[in-house]
Subunit: 215 residues, 2 copies
Amino acid sequence: MVQKSVPKRGRPRAYDPDKALRNARDVFWERGFSGTSLDDIGAATGMNRPSLYAAFGGKHALYMKAFDTYRRTSRRMIDVVLAPDIPLSEGLQHFYAEALDTYVPKHGKARGCFMIATGVTEAAQDADVRKALGDALHDIEKALEVRFAAAKKAGEISASSNPRALAMMASAALYSMAIQSRTGVPRKALQAIADAAIETLCAGSNKSRTRITTP
Amino acid sequence: MVQKSVPKRGRPRAYDPDKALRNARDVFWERGFSGTSLDDIGAATGMNRPSLYAAFGGKHALYMKAFDTYRRTSRRMIDVVLAPDIPLSEGLQHFYAEALDTYVPKHGKARGCFMIATGVTEAAQDADVRKALGDALHDIEKALEVRFAAAKKAGEISASSNPRALAMMASAALYSMAIQSRTGVPRKALQAIADAAIETLCAGSNKSRTRITTP
DNA sequence: CGATTTTTGTACCATGTCGTATAAAATCCT
DNA sequence: AGGATTTTATACGACATGGTACAAAAATCG
């Protein structure tokens, strides 16, 4: 996961870099970039300041690494649930179900989307964050557009439909869930957003009407 | 606007409370709550620390006042553009056009929605922000739902349409514009989101197809 | 074992931050 | 003018913050 390999000589690391990065990410996720101190991260990872520095290179670099990890994980999930051999509406149901589980974990408090919850605020002042967030959202929308275009070609949705517009709406619904989950809106109401999106965007395609929930 | 009146005696204020509140709001808007220091606010308002304190009562209280002001302004705008005597699709065009002008001012850099850009991050840790943001978003969605319900009753949209679902999608499009504007997405692409929403949600009602842009 | 290498842990520094104490300034009232 | 009242301006205090220096610790290699 993390490229830095363990050296042959010298004192061994007292931490697991991947685990530490996840824990640091969780702190940023909860408190935001500006709201998180290196002491918070030290406490969450069990690492002292110089180790944090050697491993990740300062607060900003650490945040960007956490951002990138989250982005990659999201991307992998999307590629799985939007595979073109899964029916469109079923794929979208999985898409939103996976997102919902991330935004409102079964155990633990609601946290929303890491990128939206922490990146949007910083984007105005931090060019790195602005670019990373912009690229990440663009990727999501593009993946949806590709899927809708395939669905159009396959006759899953109307031949007159506009894949780009549908992707915009589908991603918008995701962002709405990301935002509202963090305000304490209950799972059921968030699920209703997903349902509304699927109902609105897959008007024709009703090969699968079963509600998908994770076990 | 601000309830605190000028007293009859004593040294007169050197600042205009409403103007100061707007300037403070703009700093929070740009840097977020945690990313803003009282020195930043002092510089932006021209007020020194004790005056800020006396006028607004500390950083958090000042932020909440700014939030409330923004929320009220948004609410007024929404009530105007979604008045039931304006055709639905025209009203929505105004709705998104107004939002766009707020998110990407004609002069000055893109900033998105104050509530989403600054509130989502803090919502996880700050119960006041969480409630204010949740209430504000709920208000927006409710106003849209009421308008869609009226449109349904008036035959502007299909009798089988679901006003609540339509409101969810319409608000989601707004939030998407709010987020993406802050990542630097150009006006044209943001307008495309609005167009996609209107196209998707007002499928039947095409009394007005003219693009609305502010002068 | 002793030299080498890498990480750890403590302490530290310079700066930033929130909030307040206190005295001077500017107005009104009599 | 003189007292009363309110705001301003400076300064400050206690603490938090990001980042670093440095010696001790723990491993490998010869």
